[in-house]
């Protein structure tokens, strides 16, 4: 029996630009053309000024860990061989936060406030998701 794969995201018409960006290894998040606010997840009006005029703009991909946990018991077979793994909330330099894993390091190295940068995990040929890793030394915060 083959191991179940991680669930691939199912885009909808409003979020398709985000997932298209992912396939190009770009982290795109909405930016309001009226007030420059950024937000995530996508929606068709600006949560700050309620304007409807927005664009998809690349984020720096840098941020810091607001909080995290180390999961020891996975919620399903797709994640069972990943334990222990880190689930974290990252605040991007642009302001919005997102939920992710912290990868390419031991869970013991992870801490609140740690600077991180985006990397990309291809789940299927069609679906790539953002992951975050410790910011390379010398790269600044």
């Amino acid at each position: 029996m083959t191991k179940p794969s991680k669930p691939a995201p199912v885009p909808d018409p409003e979020t398709e630009p985000y997932w298209e960006g992912m396939r190009r290894r770009e982290l795109l998040i909405p930016r309001c053309r009226s007030c420059s606010a950024r937000w995530f997840p996508p929606s068709t009006s600006c949560p700050a000024c309620s304007g409807f005029d927005y664009e998809w703009a690349a984020a720096s991909g840098r941020g810091e860990i607001v909080t995290y946990t180390v999961v020891h018991r996975a919620p399903g077979p797709a994640f069972a061989d990943q334990t222990p793994y880190v689930v974290a909330i990252i605040q991007l330099a642009e302001g919005p936060r997102l939920l992710t894993n912290v990868v390419e390091c031991s869970p013991d190295e992870v801490s609140i406030g740690m600077p991180v940068e985006v990397t990309f995990e291809e789940i299927t040929a069609d679906a790539t998701v953002p992951q975050f890793r410790p910011l390379a030394k010398g790269e600044g915060g």
């Binding site: 669930p7 995201p9 607001v66 909080t67 999961v71 997102l98 998701v129």
Partner: protein
């Protein structure tokens, strides 16, 4: 408000909570509802308003209509189906009172129940949320652990303090014959249970259960005609801040600051006036944050607050005297209504071995999502 318009709780009912294979969600709702209607001294034909908190394992497009057929009632005035997760129970009581006080209904049945333990489809696995979450192996314990870790980081809250919340709930459940888990459990037992998502151990996480409960509200005048003592809704409040956890204002507090402020202001009471508090406890961190938000202690002091027996029977503020979600059980979204039922049972003085002596005013608080939707209700004895 004129006494004639005022709403009151006239009846409560519940089923034992635990593992009851072979029963549907609606069977628990029906049993609890019929108990509550009888407790109020009414007949089901008198119910003209209905609030059904939907089942998770038997979803229906029209849960109230499904319940209507199952139990055989035809409410003539209104029905509703709150979708506020664990806050739904307290919010439904608040809405039922508002409908009665607004003249929109005269007898409102609030009911919740689920076969969350035995009725889950075989082989089902938690799907992991939205398209922006599914790939990361998240589930409820991990999401609440994100709050717990941040609270520990900012305020020095300890695993032992978290574990005391679970141990206190278990102590109370040991006194409740209708609770699911009644064997004694210590702080050391909680800390020795398997780690799920740091810092939450298995025994820091609530149960999954079969069962149900119900509340009947009427006008105060009608409730006074019943053979049971009416219970007043003294104050209530709600606040909604986010859905996705990454949109939360922060990871150490919740909209309970606002829902609690509203409830205490309406009641003209302060936290020191509360004799017993039934506080949503999906995980051990949840009551610690909510006790702070509701003003029982300062922000950051929830950990020390729960120590030393303060939240146990006989302490300054006993919480979750039925055993809470952690040890009484969590029959789906009905778990949140049980907190309100226990608050009512306590102010009636009907709680038996787990009765808080002389309890006159009780607070119940429901929390939906990941600290997303908050509802506070304060109930008290009818002074008349």
């Amino acid at each position: 408000m004129e006494q004639g318009n005022r709403a009151a709780v006239a009846g409560v009912g519940w089923t034992p909570v635990g593992a009851y294979p072979g029963r549907s969600a609606y069977s628990f709702m029906a049993e609890a509802a019929l108990h509550a209607i009888a407790d109020a001294g009414l007949t089901k034909e008198q119910v003209d308003g209905l609030i059904v908190i939907p089942s998770l394992v038997q979803p229906s497009i029209m849960p109230a209509a499904t319940f209507i057929d199952y139990v055989g009632i035809r409410p003539q005035r209104f029905s509703a189906e709150p979708g506020m997760g664990g806050a739904s129970g307290c919010a439904a009581i608040r809405q039922a009172a508002a409908m009665i006080e607004g003249g929109q209904a005269t007898v409102v049945l609030v009911v919740a129940g689920d076969a969350a333990l035995s009725g889950r489809p075989a082989g089902s696995v938690y799907a992991g949320g939205s398209q922006f979450e599914a790939a990361y192996g998240t589930f409820a314990p991990a999401l609440y652990a994100l709050y717990a870790q941040r609270h520990m980081h900012e305020y020095g809250t300890t695993p032992e303090q978290l574990a005391e919340v679970s141990a206190a709930c278990r102590h109370h459940a040991s006194l409740n014959p209708d609770a699911q888990m009644r064997d004694p459990q210590t702080v050391a037992d909680v800390l020795a249970s398997p780690m799920i998502a740091e810092p939450l151990h298995r025994l820091d996480c609530c149960l999954i259960s079969d069962g149900g409960c119900a509340v009947v509200l009427t006008s105060l005048a009608q409730a006074r005609d019943s053979q049971r003592p009416p219970v007043l809704l003294l104050g209530s409040g709600e606040c909604h801040t986010h859905d996705k956890i990454w949109r939360a204002p922060d990871y150490v507090s919740s909209g309970a600051v606002e829902s609690g402020r509203q409830a205490f202001a309406e009641a003209g009471l302060a936290p020191a006036d509360i004799d017993v508090a039934e506080i949503y406890d999906c995980f051990s961190i949840t009551p610690i944050i909510l006790l702070e938000d509701l003003g029982f202690c300062a922000k950051g002091e929830g950990g020390p607050f729960v120590e030393g027996g303060r939240i146990r029977l006989g302490g300054e503020l006993p919480i979750n005297t039925h055993g809470g979600l952690l040890s009484h059980g969590q029959p789906g979204m009905g778990g949140g209504l049980f907190h309100a039922v226990e608050a009512i049972v306590q102010v009636r003085g009907d709680a038996g071995p787990r009765q808080v002596a002389g309890a006159k005013v009780a607070l119940a608080h429901g929390n939906g999502g990941i600290f997303a939707s908050q509802c506070t209700v304060i109930v008290g004895r009818d002074a008349a």
